[in-house]
Symmetry: C2
Subunit: 242 residues, 2 copies
């Protein structure tokens, strides 16, 4: 009999999903350790090897970080290795520079058609809009306009942003409990309009990168849509292809 198995999922993947639920529900928070492999094996009544394979996959997806001799930790943007996980900007010369975020504006608005579609929220639902400048070595390089699901980011103000010394995603994680997992970027070349040119200190009409990013949290839920204008006079966008 040619039997079609409709939903075959190996045990380790079921375990993985169980652990994922724990992450999504906040049972274990970013930066905290999850139970040891041995403990999870007992809890789920499987062998340690099976738990291990489940965690292997999650580590490969940057959901979790293993530390030998210590334990397995929920990945966090509040971690030197992940501070600028989604930022691909590199200076033409010199080593890795640490960018400085300068918040410009922050207000509350209602989702237009495009924002509603991309963030998967109702038309007219509340959103937060942030405009900020990213400086490298004192020079403006990226001008971001950021759209955030309003229900998730209640209480976000310019003062909060200005008081924040970490990366935006670190702030989102610590203040709003939203962890960004993955993102998609759509890159185009555009000409600088007058206002953007001024902010980025380039000539009006000069070519810029337009980087549209949609960022997802657990469950592939989109929570952020941002458009960045990148000045590539002294920097470039680096992408590794495997």
């Amino acid at each position: 009999m040619a039997q079609v198995s409709p939903t075959f999922s190996p045990l380790y993947r079921q375990i993985k999903n169980l652990i994922l639920q724990g992450l999504a529900s906040g049972e274990w928070r970013p930066g905290e350790a999850i139970p040891s492999e041995a403990e999870l094996a007992i809890r789920f009544n499987v062998s340690q090897g099976t738990v291990r394979k489940a965690i292997d996959e999650m580590a490969a997806e940057n959901l979790v970080v293993r530390k030998q001799g210590k334990g397995t930790y929920v990945a966090s943007h509040n971690d030197p290795r992940a501070f600028f996980r989604f930022l691909r900007v590199v200076p033409d010369v010199g080593g890795v520079a640490v960018p400085q975020s300068v918040p410009l504006e922050c207000w509350r608005a209602k989702a237009g058609q495009e924002a509603a579609r991309i963030l998967d929220i109702p038309l007219g639902a509340p959103i937060n809009i942030v405009r900020r400048l990213l400086k490298f070595d004192g020079k403006p390089v990226v001008l971001d306009e950021i759209y955030l699901s309003g229900d998730v980011f209640q209480g976000l103000t310019l003062e909060v942003l200005q008081g924040n010394q970490d990366s935006l995603y670190t702030l989102f994680e610590t203040h709003f409990g939203v962890r960004m997992i993955r993102a998609e970027e759509r890159i185009r070349a555009v000409a600088a309009d007058r206002a953007s040119a001024e902010q980025l200190q380039v000539d009006e009409g000069s070519p810029l990168l337009s980087v549209e990013r949609v960022t997802y949290t657990y469950g592939d839920k989109p929570v952020e849509w941002r458009r960045g204008l990148y000045s590539t006079a002294g920097h470039f966008y680096l992408n590794e292809l495997n």
Copy 2:
């Protein structure tokens, strides 16, 4: 059974390196199957699980493709899934379009300072230069200028390129035995010069993506340096961040 190694790397990584040597030396060619896990375990005198972990890593790096019930195969660009593995261009509307490569020029030259540095060859060493247009749905989208290590790509001519119906990397693999493993792209925004604008059918001075790609073969040896000018009027560059 397996004896402690002279190096500090775990056994499965040594096994991986041994298999990698087989790939680099051409013992197993792209598209061919490598020996079964059981056979490799016997050959290297380790357990099948150790071989398995070695191959796991290689599969994750796209060096090898597993096919259940059949075997493990050397990854190849001559494979529908890998035809456009390094191409990130997507049309604004419509599904995935298949690009058409139009070779424009192909000549032999001597490596200048920049080409020599990037391709890690002596100054003045022979190189091949290719210029070609990539069309989507009949419309020109990408204008490429490609620099190739001359010693590796001897015999590359415009006629060869024009007779090729596959992707460039497929051609490189089948005709020159060079398999591209990974690449780095540096993206900037630039203004179209007169000649490029004409080829891409855009206005002179309009913003384009400049995508510089260095492509590496086994042993992290750079063998290709190309600069593409992308028209993002009806297409964009898509990047997934994890």
